[in-house]
């Protein structure tokens, strides 16, 4: 192959096509597959903690019932809806990028960012309330309702703070990634040919939504139903 043809090839190459890929389609395929492999590790990461949560729910149903009643179902439910809306705007942002609409992509990414921040705001409000109720595990943990169950209620709160904390950490990372994707969209780097970063960002965002879809019933809605058959 002569230098001329190589140079000609360079010209048709998309600026974001990495040299190891044949074309943007293959690169897109590799990007999404790679993200899914990462999400597989995330599924098992959250799965391990949830597994431990379920074991203790089976062992201490009474404490789980009491602790579950301390949760703010309205705040948790609102946050579930907020995340679902943010997933819709994220999915539509990917679609806008596919269609080559810079304005649409930006507007929808900003909407996703906004709903992500609303989620974190409501979550902070809940954390603040639990902190003042003495429901943060540790030295200042207070539980006077049934002293015998106090250590077990505290264990529930360890799972509550641990699971929602890990989830909130993922949300914070997601918000950071969104800012980065928005800055790239701002510089018109995406279009119908190349939108893989928006798509991969979406995969991560939807995964974090799915985690919350499970955390909401587990931590807010059903802890008190363990007693009947426990």
């Amino acid at each position: 192959m002569s230098d001329l043809t190589l140079e000609a090839q360079e010209h048709v190459h998309h600026p974001f096509l990495q040299h190891q890929f044949e074309d943007l389609g293959q690169q897109h395929e590799a990007s999404t597959l790679g993200m899914w492999v990462f999400l597989a590790t995330e599924i098992l990461f959250f799965g391990g903690v949830l597994m431990a949560y379920w074991i203790y729910r089976v062992i201490y149903p009474e404490a789980w019932a009491l602790a579950g009643e301390q949760q703010n179902t309205l705040a948790g439910g609102t946050n579930t809806l907020v995340l679902i809306v943010s997933s819709l705007t994220m999915a539509c942002a990917v679609r806008a990028a596919q269609l080559g609409s810079r304005r649409g992509t930006l507007a929808l990414l900003f909407a996703t960012l906004f709903f992500g921040c609303v989620f974190l705001g409501i979550k902070s409000y809940e954390y603040n309330a639990h902190w003042h109720e003495g429901l943060f595990p540790g030295l200042h943990f207070t539980w006077n309702e049934d002293p015998a169950l106090a250590p077990k209620v505290q264990l529930f709160m360890v799972f509550y703070w641990g699971l929602t904390g890990l989830h909130a950490l993922h949300m914070v990372i997601g918000v950071g990634l969104l800012v980065w994707i928005i800055s790239r969209a701002w510089r018109s780097q995406f279009g119908p040919e190349y939108y893989s970063p928006v798509e991969v960002m979406g995969l991560y965002w939807h995964f974090v939504d799915i985690v919350w879809i499970f955390l909401f019933p587990f931590l807010y809605l059903i802890p008190h139903f363990g007693v009947h058959h426990g």
């Binding site: 044949e22 074309d23 389609g25 293959q26 897109h28 395929e29 999404t32 597959l33 899914w36 492999v37 999400l39 597989a40 599924i43 098992l44 799965g47 391990g48 597994m51 379920w54 074991i55 089976v58 062992i59 179902t73 439910g77 579930t80 809806l81 679902i84 809306v85 997933s87 819709l88 994220m90 999915a91 539509c92 679609r95 596919q98 269609l99 119908p192 798509e199 979406g202 995969l203 939807h206 995964f207 939504d209 799915i210 879809i213 499970f214 909401f216 019933p217 587990f218 809605l221 059903i222 139903f225 363990g226 009947h228 058959h229």
Partner: protein
């Protein structure tokens, strides 16, 4: 060979996204409502079924798995098979420990 990699970039109709969104919102309200009614042993399974249905909808449509290649399907399914192994094998232990008492 180039054609093999030129993956058809499927653009999901907005209607599909809105229908999935409506299903997710209804599912959220349904799981909340179900938690206010005492269904005995059924509360937990119902909450799990609703949450799993919502997750499957998100994975298939929002995450575009329904339009993706078989290789992606393999990774997605394998990760949940591993998760199922974790839960099923662990619970064969914990849920059967009480049996010796009866």
């Amino acid at each position: 060979m180039a054609d093999v990699h030129a993956a058809p970039h499927h653009i999901t109709p907005l209607r599909t996204y809105f229908m999935v969104f409506a299903a997710l919102a209804i599912g959220t309200l349904l799981t909340w409502y179900a938690s206010t009614v005492d269904l005995g042993a059924w509360n937990t399974p119902i909450a799990l079924i609703i949450a799993t249905t919502k997750a499957v909808l998100v994975i298939l449509f929002f995450m575009h798995v329904i339009y993706s290649t078989r290789l992606t399907w393999v990774v997605v399914i394998a990760s949940f098979v591993w998760l199922a192994m974790l839960f099923v094998l662990t619970f064969t232990d914990y849920l059967t420990r009480a049996w010796q008492i009866y």
